[in-house]
Symmetry: C2
Subunit: 252 residues, 2 copies
């Protein structure tokens, strides 16, 4: 038996998230189905990041065990023939038999994209959250900096999480702004968050909180208090999923 | 009677192009239907650029005549309530009664986007053309420079065009390359073309020709000869529509 690791990219628009479910189309479900069909084995897929419904990925990680003797790097090309076009495995290799993508030291990078224009621009709808109100990006940057470091992120975690410790280390929260190309005016804002792990909806709650700061509805002190209190209701709303992309999982 | 000008953005994926047709969903058709429903008038829409099926726009121009007394700048907001989400009017104003968006001196800017990676990345599929072969961007730039200036672009025009003169002036053909964010490797290449007018499929044939040069299948001399010959078969193939976006129409 060999354990194969896949780097998986997908457009999450059409999926009820990563995790396999009965009666719902999920990324893990499609991967499992494709592998079982191709390899003619019972295959179980384990993912590193169980992204939510509508969230995208450039580099999620999945592993599975197989009896197949196909060279490890060939799995990426082979499985893509069995997958829908909105899921594409980028690379594959062989890992140790006890490698588990969720029980490892990793650094994950997410990006949350906002289109800040007077009127929505359709070619951005699928991968960005449209905000009409002008955003104060320098205040958003300051709010982001308050979250860097090791903290108990309970206030930035949706109900339903079953993890014991809500302490995580965030290495980076940066806010980049660039003008929208063309003639429409406005800007495209990208919140980049990098850390050693994330709680349920944590990046979307960080984005929702920074967006309130950017609109002047929440102060930097409010953000500090939310973090210190550990109370979910003191942080901002969960920003919608289509703006979020899991960019990379880096393993130590 | 007043003539109102609209700046129109759309995701062309779901449309059989701009131009109104029986039994096909088009951008002009949707605009006409929305205006007739909203204003309760018979409205005829005239567009500046009759983009092809699957081509996107950030700033196409449309005009229509109306008896309505709604302030000119309010049409943009009002009509959006009657349009599908993949069409959004960005701005509106009033123009002279004899203003015709196709019989004016304008400068149009198009961008053609290529994803140059080993394996397709789903979040790019809708707005880029995936090319597996590594592209020589510096050669593409040189090929693009050959097209700048006033030329007879007959070789870069698909059959079916009814225009008399195929002489156009191209002001800019630039090729920008940036790394794909995340962990996948490869690059995103953008061919930007700006000119005083474009023939049927001209930008897509320019993109197709530059892509052949980038893959070493066509030399700079081939491009010069195609331009000089005026023969369509001597230029490259018509690149697929989803990579193309009409960025801006600037009026003098």
């Amino acid at each position: 038996m060999r354990r194969i690791r896949l780097i998986v990219a997908y457009d999450g628009t059409g999926y009820c998230g990563w995790q396999i479910q009965d009666n719902a189309v999920t990324v893990e479900g499609e991967l499992t189905k494709a592998l079982c069909t191709w390899l003619q084995e019972e295959v179980e897929v384990i993912g590193a990041s169980r992204t939510d419904s509508g969230v995208h990925a450039l580099g999620n990680i999945a592993v599975f065990d197989t009896e197949s003797r196909i060279p490890a790097e060939k799995f990426a090309i082979g499985i893509n023939h069995y997958l829908p076009a909105d899921i594409r495995v980028q690379r594959s290799d062989e890992v140790e038999a006890d490698y588990h993508p969720r029980y490892r030291k990793t650094e994950k990078t997410y990006e949350y994209t906002i289109l800040n224009t007077k009127i929505a621009i359709p070619v951005y709808d699928r991968y960005a959250y449209h905000i009409y109100h002008a955003l104060d990006v320098s205040m958003m940057r300051k709010a982001g900096e308050l979250l860097i470091g090791e903290h108990d992120f309970s206030a930035f975690c949706s109900a339903g999480s079953q993890v014991k410790s809500k302490v995580r280390t965030v290495y980076e929260v940066t806010v980049q702004e660039e003008p929208v190309p063309g003639c429409n005016g406005g800007s495209r804002i990208c919140i980049r968050v990098r850390g050693n792990g994330f709680l349920y909806n944590m990046v979307r709650i960080i984005a929702g909180t920074l967006l309130e700061v950017g609109q002047g509805r929440r102060t930097l002190q409010d953000v500090e208090e939310a973090l210190a209190s550990g109370e979910r209701k003191k942080a901002g709303p969960t920003a919608p999923p289509q703006g979020l992309t899991l960019m990379e999982i880096r393993e130590e």
